[in-house]
Symmetry: C2
Subunit: 338 residues, 2 copies
């Protein structure tokens, strides 16, 4: 799927062609897919990524695009960001520590990346690029255990791990800098995102990435609990489409906006679809591991009504289609991701 | 007013006598009043404070108590806290950067104190004192501009400055460590607190402290806007009473609980009462300064219904009585605070 096919109703190419954009975390899963789409649309793309081992950043994610964008290896926690934010029309700010388990094991690193570095980026914009627009990658998980479903943006936030608290603060800095300093910024609260270039090397970042790897390795996938828990999933091309729309839409400034899947899916339905689409792997139900149970939040899925209203966005790729694209990608490029 | 007079209905002395307690920020305004009350109740009190200039900490705040408690000068951002938290039955965690203006001028220092150091304290408890109980000083200001009044704990949080975002994160760490690690913790969300030992040296921390100084200096107090904005005020002895009750109440673990004033008071009513009680000073209305207007939140006052239910707490000291005690204190000890 090419980027221009993502959104027939808005003219992304007319907007992005010739614009200068920065993608932090641009060698990561969503960031690299976004950077590729931006390059395809004719934007001048600079990607910043620290390539911290096990975080998901990977040079192969921009394979074939090395001459079509600039890759700048840098850590958003350090100096250099003051320079790097300058001159860009739009900053897609996706650099983050996204593992819940890592955040509990090492809360200070999570704090430095998800809070302190976000403040650095925004301060750098205030100093050196106040005209820019920032689109931040937030997360549905800051809602915590849902009080009602689907989760809309008015749902109280109730983070259930250190990562959730820090992502919440990082998101708020963006809204604050929009409101107080006029640095146009918004946050997209992503739900479970999957697709080509997601991290499948270990299971600490996403469960689904690990399941995909297990299916392709023809292993038995363990489903925790009774498998009836509902979640929603968005294919990465749909998420990229939302970022592109947010970057060109003034109506989202100062707002947090949920993305969401087409429909809630049970774990059992997800895994059985995956095994069927992959044509390999199997599954069985096992009891919930205690260390995950204490931070588990039960059924959780988001309403994307506000994204539909403000961005004209909706998820277009079905779960089966998305899983087919994903498994095909990893079969083709297994040696770079395993 | 002695601490035991604060709460005839609960036997604070029976609970606190002989207990080991730590008060972080214990040379500051609320912290020092709390430390004095704890010493009066017979507790073994250790006070930790960094005495950062202009933050409000002041050795004279514990004048007369130097031999009745231990004063340990240390910065909660640094090492030492791992040792200092050990062995205490209760930790009253009041160390913080509390100036909204400072947080906008130097957001990273605010982050280090209000987020990172809070995480350090909680990690230190997890490592070295998991049996302790922590009572955190939160703030009403994280609600931001009220969507309804009075503000209860279900009101969405919407911080309007960097300080509010960081205090929100710091509070959430406490709730998280309670929920996940069983480190018993709660947060009291303080509203405007006033009384003896509050900082009156500059106007960056509280408006009321500065007004009190101006009245006692027989100066003209400027009231921003039309003076009709409503706020609530709690006298520090009432706030100390709430902390003492929270420290001995298991039902508050994992909860955030508003404190609140007896009734909302307009700026005009506040200042005219102050000038009358002080017998000096005057006031006039002036336009709102733009740099404050952008972070101003309009009318704001809290419901203390949950504190009443869980702690049996209510504010007992009237505004006029509190202002009389406060102005008398500063007349007596002006040389230490001006």
């Amino acid at each position: 799927m090419t980027a221009t096919a993502l959104a027939a109703d808005v003219d992304l190419a007319a907007y992005y062609a010739g614009r200068s954009v920065l993608v932090t975390g641009g060698l990561g899963f969503v960031g690299s897919n976004l950077a590729r789409a931006l390059a395809d649309l004719g934007a001048w793309v600079v990607v910043v990524d620290s390539l911290i081992p096990d975080y998901g950043g990977c040079l192969f994610n921009l394979d074939g695009y090395e001459d079509r964008l600039k890759i700048n290896i840098a850590d958003v926690r350090g100096h250099g960001i003051e320079y790097l934010v300058r001159g860009h029309d739009i900053i897609f700010n996706l650099a983050g520590q996204v593992s819940h388990i890592n955040s509990m094991r090492d809360p200070f690193t999570d704090l430095d990346i998800n809070c302190r570095a976000q403040l650095s980026i925004l301060e750098a914009c205030r100093e050196g690029n106040p005209q820019t627009k920032v689109v931040f990658a937030g997360t549905r998980q800051i809602y915590g255990a849902p009080q009602y479903l689907p989760l809309d943006e008015r749902h109280p936030v109730h983070p259930a791990d250190v990562n959730g608290i820090n992502k919440m603060a990082g998101e708020w800095y963006h809204i604050l800098y929009n409101n107080v300093y006029g640095i146009r910024a918004c946050s997209l609260r992503l739900t479970n995102t999957y697709g080509p270039r997601m991290l499948v090397r270990h299971s600490r970042q996403t469960a689904l990435g690990w399941f995909i790897r297990q299916a392709l390795d023809n292993e038995e996938i363990e489903i925790w609990g009774d498998g009836r828990q509902l979640r929603d999933y968005t294919y990465v091309d749909d998420v990229v489409d939302a970022f592109l729309r947010a970057g060109m839409t003034e109506a989202v400034n100062g707002k947090v906006i949920n993305l969401g899947g087409r429909a809630p899916v049970s774990h059992l339905e997800l895994i059985s679809s995956l095994v069927e689409v992959a044509g390999s792997g199997s599954y069985r139900l096992v009891p919930f591991p205690p260390e995950r149970k204490v931070i588990d939040i039960g059924d959780a899925y988001s309403s994307f009504a506000l994204a539909a209203e403000l961005l004209g966005w909706e998820p277009k790729v079905s779960l089966r289609q998305g899983l087919a694209e994903t498994t095909a990608f990893y079969r083709r490029h297994k040696e770079h991701y395993w």
